[in-house]
């Protein structure tokens, strides 16, 4: 089955993010993911608001991280949300990004270990296990349980980009959130997830594999492109050399964009983003072009496609375009 999700960065008022999510739900989207950054509105306040006005769409953080939010608090948050929206809560968790962590004086230590223990601890906590949890990075004492009853499980999706994290997602995740948009990157990621799943004696049917893309749709490609350029600039600037080389993007070009972004020279930074970069790091175009690109991604074996920021020049219009002109191509096929 093919699922479709949408991501929102809660930079806007709570009611606006909720309005857009309701619009997405009415059009048949399956999931909504709210990013978790200290400098935007709070993810769980956003989700609680959304939960009150929706009935079907699944929802969760996309993604939180264990360095800033202790896994026990993540477990508490998603379990509480699951009371408001029973059976609709999903939890995306990743290692976070180094720049944000460093801003708050935190280091990304042993990300694989941190993620494995976080997933184990969140599950144990939601299951209200009595024995406590003993990990190398996280531990709880016996009896450190919630004082409230929890009902049901919350599927945990692991946000991943590197080979080992993708393998871990296949090994222990209920889902994987692949942080990429190009079929070549996604294909490689799917095979790593599959290897991880096989290693753990699981099958790919046990893992909901999602492409968490930078996405922009508009009536015409030019407008869609214009809207996606700033997001692509940041992706290029933050991509490791091996990923840039895979897409034949000169490392020097990325260095130049990074420098200009750091100096807030937006015009020069965004002006240096070319079509190759847009093709490598986003799904972008008019509805027909998006259908074609998404079709390529589904052929790699993903089961879930997520439209991430910026969505398009106008959120409302882009959600309508995707829901009315892109999604039906897959939902009805």
């Amino acid at each position: 089955m093919k699922s479709f999700g949408i991501e929102f960065v809660p930079m806007e008022l709570f009611w606006k993010t909720t309005y857009y999510t309701m619009q997405a739900e009415k059009l048949g989207y399956d999931s909504v993911w709210i990013t978790d950054h200290f400098n935007n509105r709070n993810v769980y306040v956003s989700l609680a608001f959304i939960a009150n006005y929706t009935d079907r769409i699944k929802m969760g953080p996309g993604v939180t991280n264990p360095y800033l939010i202790h896994p026990v608090y993540t477990a508490q948050s998603v379990a509480s949300l699951n009371e408001v929206a029973p059976g609709r809560v999903i939890c995306g968790i990743g290692a976070g990004d180094r720049t944000t962590l460093e801003m708050l004086g935190r280091k990304m230590e042993s990300p694989l270990r941190a993620m494995r223990e976080s997933v184990e601890l969140i599950r144990a906590q939601i299951a209200r296990e009595k024995s406590g949890y003993e990990g190398r990075m996280f531990s709880t004492s016996a009896g450190a349980r919630f004082n409230f009853k929890t009902k049901g499980e919350v599927p945990i999706y692991i946000g991943a980009q590197g080979p080992k994290m993708l393998g871990l997602a296949g090994e222990i995740g209920d889902g994987a959130l692949i942080n990429a948009s190009h079929p070549r990157d996604i294909e490689r990621a799917v095979s790593l997830i599959e290897a991880g799943a096989n290693k753990a004696g699981r099958s790919m049917e046990d893992v909901d594999v999602a492409a968490y893309t930078s996405f922009s749709v508009a009536d015409d490609r030019k407008s869609a492109k214009k809207s996606v350029v700033p997001v692509v600039a940041y992706i290029v600037a933050g991509s490791p050399p091996q990923i840039l080389e895979r897409h034949e993007i000169p490392v020097e070009s990325a260095d130049e964009i990074r420098k200009n972004l750091a100096e807030r020279n937006w015009g020069e930074a965004f002006g240096a983003v070319n079509s190759d970069m847009i093709d490598a790091f986003s799904i972008c175009g008019d509805p027909d072009q998006c259908v074609e690109q998404i079709d390529d991604l589904f052929r790699t074996g993903i089961t879930h496609f997520i439209t991430g920021s910026p969505l398009g020049p106008s959120k409302k219009k882009s959600i309508n375009l995707f829901g009315n002109e892109v999604m039906p191509h897959f939902k009805e096929s």
């Binding site: 008022l13 006005y53 959120k315």
Partner: protein
Amino acid sequence: MNYNEFVKQVPRTMRGPLSENLIDIILEGDESLAIPPSLAKTILHYWQRDQLDSEAGLTNLLKATFEADPERTLKVIDTFDLKELRMALQPA
């Protein structure tokens, strides 16, 4: 201002497109901070029930858009050629 009385003057066929244009004002405008949270929640209530183009839905939308951006609201009303509504809403 009794927006409900004004909304009654809007022909039914125009209510859907008008509500779409009005919601754009508050979604796109930074001025929407001026909308009280209770009014924003009322709008979501009508949106949830697909009733933003009902009399009550439009009444609340007009309240909100006038709070957020009176100038753009009047421009939208002009687009729909709602002369009586325009006259009634025209600032003194």
